[in-house]
Assembly symmetry: C2
Homo-oligomer: 304 residues x 2
């Protein structure tokens, strides 16, 4: 199953140096889960060939403009391009009010339905579950109501050991039950334990999206063992004071989160406009957590 | 005095083919008068080196998203980049409410003051007058409340004919009065008529911005004799029915507006996403009004 993320924006508050504010397109089994939607996101999607028509879900972390000001434009474009299938949007209280106000004054009646679910920034909640994944909110601390999102692949069924099934002449109609963990009892009453006939499927992969937040151990347990962790890293650690004041994280701290939560890979982003080049940020993070990458516009990372 | 317009967006409803929805930066004497502000306008300004800090006035024609969804992002960026001087915004009723709602929920208190003036889409009004220009609204017909904007250079003082002033020994302290049209009476009582000492300054130049609108003679008199007329030309004339239905103009009609109002030059823009290339649109307009240009992203046109 495809599980990959394409970065559409890596900048914090303002666009600069060809970096756009935050948005990411998560492709799970050819459906797009759009995470945040800064101004210019639809232009970035065109640039990096991410098909807007494949978006089924949009997740907005919080109501700072650099995370959602491209949403109403995107919704309008989907409408103008003929979308009729419903769109699920997850985001903070008031987001729906903002959308409705703007569509209302432009006298736009969307041809498709928006199903809005308000997120709760105080406790983790499963907000979406389908055949491919579950999505949980990650309560973050950023001054205004803010959540990250944890995308967890569904646990797959157990894998059959074909040679054993043939050896014991187990009929095909029992296979589904075996995949689900059942033992097999033959017509003669012989019991074959499931563990001798199947093996466990791979550990489900996870993508944890943490932006924006100050360094805060409260969410560490929830995101532990992420296959890929995206964490904001607005500043270098020599700006720690400013990071604390603005409730952001430094590159060093982001790497510490990856270490402490046992992430396999770390992506950092949400870079301050003060950094024209990003070498120092990646170096700082890698000094603590070597498997770190810059979440730069147009890059696609496999969750594997 | 510098009087030129840089195109930041030429697309209608959606961004496509590297064309961004509508925005234009009018530079008058090194101050920027921003006309419309679609999503991505601040990114376009960075790309084409238009200094956002020089914006003193923003004019929003109407509340369709492709004309204003970049505004709140731009306002936030000006704030974050340290602006303190006030900013005048002219636009339809409800624009201020939209701005306030979004800044409010993001808990942003701008460091500078917004002076908002609501436009009236029913009658032309002078909404701005300073030492360089006057700006009038142009009532347009587009379904929802919509105005264009007419930028008129201030009439300059009369020019002195230096040889005559020397010939008649006219003291320097009378020059200002002469420029304003006064006659000169010498100490001996000889009267010199103003027309013999000065000549009229150039006819003030004008830039008329007409987007979005159906073809409608009501505004023709107001925009007559424009130095440069920008007119939307969403469709080719073979889509006239669709143009009427959506209250837009065809390239042929835009050219007819230029002919009937005696414009010196015509710029066309607001191109439908159905046109990947624009050759047919410019050809159609030029067949009626040869001095037509495509208002394409990054192009600067002198108002002269």
């Amino acid at each position: 199953m495809k599980f990959e993320v394409t970065i559409l924006g890596s900048s914090s508050a303002t666009p600069i140096y060809n970096r756009n504010p935050t948005s990411q397109a998560l492709n799970i089994n050819e459906r797009i889960y759009l995470i945040d939607c800064a101004e210019g996101t639809q232009q970035q999607m065109l640039k990096f060939d991410v098909k807007a028509s494949r978006i089924d879900f949009i997740f907005i972390s919080h109501l700072h403009g650099d995370h959602y000001l491209g949403l109403v434009g995107l919704l309008s474009s989907l409408h103008l391009n003929g979308r009729i299938k419903p769109l699920k949007i997850f985001g903070p209280k008031h987001l729906k009010e903002i959308i409705d106000l703007q569509l209302g004054y432009s006298e736009t009646e969307l041809k498709y339905k928006i199903e809005f679910r308000e997120t709760n920034h105080l406790i983790p909640e499963v907000i979406l579950e389908n055949q491919d994944i579950t999505v949980e909110t990650i309560p973050l601390e950023h001054g205004i109501a803010c959540t990250g999102f944890l995308f967890k692949e569904k646990k797959r069924l157990r894998k059959l050991i074909k040679e054993k099934l043939e050896q014991y002449n187990i009929p095909v109609e029992y296979y589904t039950a075996l995949k689900k963990g059942a033992d097999y009892t033959s017509p003669k009453g012989e019991v074959y334990k499931n563990e001798s006939l199947t093996f466990d499927s791979a550990v489900p992969k996870t993508y944890a999206y943490c932006s924006d937040t100050c360094y805060n151990e409260k969410y560490f347990e929830q995101i532990s063992n992420s296959t890929v962790l995206y964490h904001e890293a607005t500043f270098l650690n020599n700006m720690l004071e400013r990071a604390i004041e603005t409730q952001h994280t430094t590159a060093l701290q982001a790497a510490e989160v990856a270490v402490k939560t046992n992430a396999k890979k770390l992506l950092i982003g949400h870079f301050s406009a003060r950094y024209k080049t990003l070498n120092e940020l990646i170096d700082e993070a890698r000094s603590v957590f070597p498997n770190t990458e810059l979440a730069l516009e147009g890059k696609t990372f496999l969750i594997e």
